[in-house]
């Protein structure tokens, strides 16, 4: 009897935490079906799916979708390419390469909100070193995050600064764990390097690339810290990604119902992605622990 109850007793506290998370989650689902504005508490009431239906005719919603997807696409693709490139450069283990790969972890371990602050200081129009450097090559009035035309570029750059090392270290770990034989055989046969890369390295590295990509997709579509710290979603509505928009909807316009509905849309996207992720990740994990 005692033995049968043991695993349940051990996991009880963790279960309580789960319940503690599920309660506010349930509340959010409930809010999303309500007309609920903190400034007009008396108008509160159940409206079913109206918050969601309203989205279809709401240009702010479509703007959020567009910006979020664009941001996610740009950051993930650019970070993947750059991260893969750096991992390939550092592939051979050695003192110098290892030191570089460790140093590159520093941006990743900087709080993203603080990283945004660092870039904000460097791109300040009055004294920012980057504003100065870019004026030397002819961009006299480049306004970085404060101009609508370069705001997205700037936050994508900061995101790349923070998260490229993440992709880099996963892929580097992957590259270094690949078996040597196929590469040695290819070299003996004098196979061209581009062929080795596209037909051997890349396919063998694919599980790692997929893991890194899914991790980044899930984080990037929910990006809040960098954008909020940098511009609070501005200039205008230029950077109103999902979480920034719903944060402002909640705290600035006190529209709880709408904010919750918007987050539910984001949740649906992440739920889909995280299912893909978990399936893939379980396979990988089994292999990692199987080989250990």
């Amino acid at each position: 009897m005692y033995r049968r109850a043991l695993p349940y007793m051990l996991s009880l506290p963790a279960l309580l935490v789960c319940i503690g998370i599920l309660i506010p989650f349930g509340t959010a689902v409930y809010y999303s079906t309500q007309r609920y504005n903190l400034s007009f508490p008396q108008a509160r009431g159940f409206i079913g799916l109206e918050n969601y239906i309203d989205f279809f005719s709401d240009s702010a919603f479509w703007n959020t979708i567009e910006i979020s997807l664009l941001y996610t696409f740009l950051t993930v693709v650019l970070e993947l390419l750059l991260g893969l490139g750096i991992a390939l450069l550092l592939r051979t283990p050695g003192r110098f390469n290892n030191m570089v790969s460790i140093l590159l972890l520093l941006p990743l371990m900087t709080a993203p909100a603080i990283a945004a602050l660092m870039w904000k200081l460097m791109t300040n129009p009055n004294f920012g070193v980057l504003s100065y450097l870019i004026s030397l090559i002819g961009f006299d009035d480049f306004r970085w995050a404060s101009s609508p035309s370069s705001a997205l570029f700037t936050v994508v750059l900061v995101d790349m600064w923070v998260y490229t090392p993440f992709i880099m270290i996963l892929l580097l770990a992957g590259l270094r764990s690949l078996p040597r034989q196929p590469f040695e055989a290819a070299e003996l046969d004098g196979v061209p390097r581009s062929f080795v890369f596209f037909r051997i390295t890349l396919p063998m590295l694919m599980p790692y690339i997929i893991t890194a990509t899914l991790f980044r997709l899930l984080d990037s579509i929910q990006q809040f810290d960098i954008i909020y710290a940098m511009t609070q979603g501005g200039p205008g509505d230029k950077l109103m990604v999902f979480q920034v928009q719903s944060y402002l909807e909640f705290f600035q316009y006190t529209n709880v119902g709408r904010s919750a509905a918007l987050l539910m849309v984001l949740w649906a996207i992440t739920y889909f992605l995280s299912n893909l992720f978990v399936k893939h990740w379980l396979k990988l994990r089994e292999r990692a622990h199987g080989n250990a």
């Binding site: 520093l106 100065y132 999902f242 919750a260 992440t270």
Partner: protein
């Protein structure tokens, strides 16, 4: 693969230099800025040569900033202390809750265990605001918004999945035979767990704790939504700093340096475990 030409070596070196420049220059530059006076910072063109000053740090640490317009109080040390407190308490609680659960999930196959593990994992990937916004309303009703307790509880969302999944992987790698042998000697289950399982999984527990600490420290949105002014950690405090009037840029830079130094040092120390931790145990580094 050993016969690399000189041209290739040069290109390789050049590319790596560019990479290092992009990723390290911001840290280097902010570090310099934190030792500059406002006049040095505002000078154009920016210069690498200046007389370093500790004024910015003195102002932050003493909490008083003297300007022409009068004295100003800075609560930055309070933010720093809050970060230390929140991160270490959260990791401590996550260890107490997570390590036994991780053990249970690794040793006993039971449905509830998988469900808990996956619920926590799925919330690791859900939008944090979805949980935080309703919580902010609950917190003000329950009177939790002004307490460390409420924040530490919510920080479990960051720390617990990490501890649970990484430590579980370590327990799974340990053969149960050792534990069984010890049990046959007549030792109780609790003693086996304490004397055999935990020491064997110690590297995993240490790695997971360090990472969980770093992630708690670096978190921004949880405290932004839930913490009252005097409970805010450095991430939120530093941001408020920029917009506060009378604060000088050198002090912002110094605040940034103080807020990132602990995590960067820990990361350098724990770098062996980072790959495994960052992929929640999916990739072994």
């Amino acid at each position: 693969m050993n016969h690399t030409s000189t041209a290739e070596r040069i290109i390789r070196g050049l590319l790596l230099t560019l990479v290092l420049l992009f990723f390290l220059f911001p840290i280097f530059w902010i570090f310099l800025m934190s030792f500059q006076t406002n006049e040095d910072i505002l000078r154009i063109p920016p210069s690498l040569f200046f007389t370093p000053t500790l004024e910015n740090y003195v102002a932050l640490i003493s909490g008083r900033l003297s300007t022409v317009a009068g004295d100003l109080d800075i609560a930055f040390m309070r933010n720093l202390w809050n970060s230390v407190l929140l991160s270490s308490l959260s990791v401590g609680v996550a260890l107490i809750l997570g390590v036994p659960a991780a053990y249970a999930f690794a040793r006993f196959k039971f449905r509830l265990g998988e469900n808990i593990a996956f619920t926590l994992l799925s919330f690791r990937f859900a939008p944090p605001l979805l949980v935080l916004l309703p919580l902010s309303l609950y917190f003000s009703e329950l009177g939790l918004s002004d307490t460390y307790l409420g924040l530490v509880w919510v920080y479990q969302l960051i720390a617990l999945p990490l501890i649970l999944w990484i430590v579980r992987g370590y327990f799974e790698d340990i053969s149960p035979d050792i534990e069984n042998a010890y049990r046959i000697d007549g030792h109780s289950w609790a003693k086996t767990f304490r004397k055999i399982a935990i020491p064997l999984a110690r590297p995993g527990i240490a790695a997971a704790s360090l990472l969980a600490f770093i992630f708690c420290w670096n978190n921004f949105v949880f405290a932004l939504v839930l913490a009252s002014a005097d409970k805010q950690p450095v991430t939120v405090g530093a941001l408020a700093f920029v917009t506060a009037s009378g604060i000088q840029y050198g002090q912002v830079a110094a605040a940034i340096v103080l807020s990132v130094t602990p995590t960067l040092l820990l990361a350098l120390y724990a770098q062996r475990y980072l790959v495994e931790g960052l992929s929640l145990g999916a990739v072994k580094g």
